[in-house]
Subunit: 342 residues, 2 copies
DNA sequence: CTGTTAGCGCCTTCAC
DNA sequence: GTGAAGGCGCTAACAG
């Protein structure tokens, strides 16, 4: 009925050895007689001894744990990303602690605190959409906990990050539509000051310029990413005299809401108006009428790559970390075209 | 340039106090003069002191961390479940450590080891589809680490679990189709010996009996859940002389693959053959032709409820845990009917 | 009110 | 080859 996990001491007692000898034996120290090593290991196996990590952590200062903070686990993008993170981390014997900010800065702060207290070795963060104040991340620096941002990162230069070249994604999207003959191309934008949105906007403008299409401000509408807001944005587009013949949406969910609204208004999806989105939901492969194309951002790979970078940083000497160099890894997106019964 | 996190000792030294006084002050012990408390807290705040949890863990034996093990983070069901787990856990100041088994028993074992070494306080597990040997879970008992299984649980009686009454879900599904006039109702089954599958089968049989529909073994086909296997299963159904007019699929992904195959064979989805599935993917709300109906299993709630139960167990005295009573919480599923332009 | 001591489980000197 | 001692950060029991 003894319930506690066995310790090095118990093994020692059973064999009339000292704890340190047992410790060394378990680590195959060369100063221990093979016979002792054998005996120790046998008893350890029998008791199903497992080293208590918390104790080792206390000593070494390393927890072999990475923290992941992201907005929503339920969004396909993030669940794929964290899957990549977990796979890579566990391959390298790291554990993954996770928290979701629900796009709320306060929750984000709390999670950062919790992770700090937990003494994670490093952190992977995709920041909440409305986070403007980054002081809670600054604190991590003091503690020398390295952070790699992915997907959604602050705009300062003194951070590590793995992101996707969204401007290029937008370029591909616009050019794709242009080739299909569209010139009245609208964009349902996300939160205006979000970097990820500004990058898309930049791509939108640069592509129009390149293609010699005049920029029409009426073709840019905004959504706060809620269904209602997207419907309203779509409504605005449909009310124009010369409405768009193609719509690019900030992300898949916005696209789906927009398409839903358009359908309700008897617009034929991808016939009367063609849709293109960002993120490329896996389930598009099963839909009859997904957006014509979607910018794939490879979340699994982003997660993996970010974790790889974080582990590299963890392997550099502590002192050398702080001043950089700061890595900004930028992955190329790719426009996925969904061909259907057409 | 000082980088290590401040400790209680440093605060003590700065104030010429002992470490224990500082510790007590930080905990608002009543035996400490208000003045001291104030001074200590000021210095602590200034240094941005945060207690080192690993140290507290070592002492108390509690890590305030829950482990979650599930097959795939990317499956909508699980990402919703873990979202519920994380939300509930973080409300109660627990951290969540996670690992995905990828439905592989060996990986599952490794993760259990890792979690054990990490000394998580408790574990939430949805077992891998092909796990037959449960010895790795037995080991957790020795360590007195309580486990709550959810969704997919072993069939022994001496465990805690939160699951969904799948037989009832199947009953609803069959009766729904029957009311629509169907009598030739097929079932694309999952792995035969999986409990979750046998429950569905039981429901299938009991409903047919109740409805006085003769059981036709040709209407039950098997899929290992891969796309190819599902396509093959569907092919078998379509080759029957008197083929089914309705198909119930083991889960959403099987349903989508089946529908995809049927479409390719020029079957009109939900006209020539009606489809019903299990799990009710959120994205169905956006599809033109989702299954007619799907059994909603409320993964978020399952996750929440499982976590709640686990925390309750953690609050009982250690000694009292082992012998139970073992809770088996069984949630009612609900058939969601997808009405569309029809 | 506050300081001292001891110990959580482990590893790492240093000593024999 | 092995043992003893000390310490990682913190708290709890025992002294004052």
């Amino acid at each position: 009925m003894k319930k506690r996990a066995p310790t090095i001491k118990e093994i020692a007692k059973m064999l009339n050895l000292s704890a340190s000898t047992v410790s060394r034996a378990l680590h195959d120290s060369r100063n221990i007689s093979p016979a002792t090593i054998k005996r120790v290991k046998e008893v350890a196996a029998e008791l199903e001894y497992e080293p208590n990590q918390t104790a080792m952590f206390l000593q070494s200062g390393k927890t072999l744990t990475l923290g992941v903070i992201l907005p929503h686990l339920t969004e396909a993008f993030f669940s794929q990303a964290i899957s990549g993170i977990e796979d890579f981390a566990s391959e390298h014997n790291y554990n993954v602690l996770m928290g979701q900010s629900h796009d709320d800065t306060n929750r984000e702060k709390k999670i950062v605190e919790a992770m700090k207290n937990h003494r994670v070795d490093g952190l992977l963060i995709s920041i909440a959409k409305n986070t403007k104040d980054f002081s809670h991340f600054e604190a991590l620096r003091k503690y020398d906990i390295p952070v790699v941002f992915f997907d959604c990162a602050p705009e300062t230069s003194d951070i590590h990050s793995v992101t996707c070249k969204l401007e290029a994604g937008m370029n591909e999207a616009v050019e794709f539509l242009s080739k299909k003959g569209h010139t009245r191309i609208a964009y349902i934008s996300g939160p205006r000051d979000l970097l990820a949105n500004r990058e898309r906007m930049a791509g939108y403008h640069s592509s129009l310029k390149l293609l010699n299409i005049a920029f029409n401000p009426q073709y840019v509408v905004h959504s706060d990413l809620s269904k209602e807001s997207t419907h309203y944005a779509m409504q605005n587009l449909l009310s124009l005299k010369a409405g768009p013949t193609a719509v690019i949406a900030f992300n898949d969910y916005v696209a789906l809401d927009a398409m839903q609204y358009a359908s309700k208004m008897n617009i034929r999806i991808n016939k009367d108006i063609s849709f293109v989105s960002f993120s490329n939901l896996p389930v598009y492969n099963y839909m009859e009428n997904p957006p014509l194309a979607s910018v794939e951002q490879f979340p699994y790979r982003q997660g993996q790559r970010a974790t790889e970078l974080l582990l590299e940083i963890l392997n550099t000497v502590k002192g050398e970390r702080a001043q950089g160099p700061f890595q900004k890894i930028i992955l190329e997106p790719r426009l996925f075209i969904h061909t259907r019964f057409s």
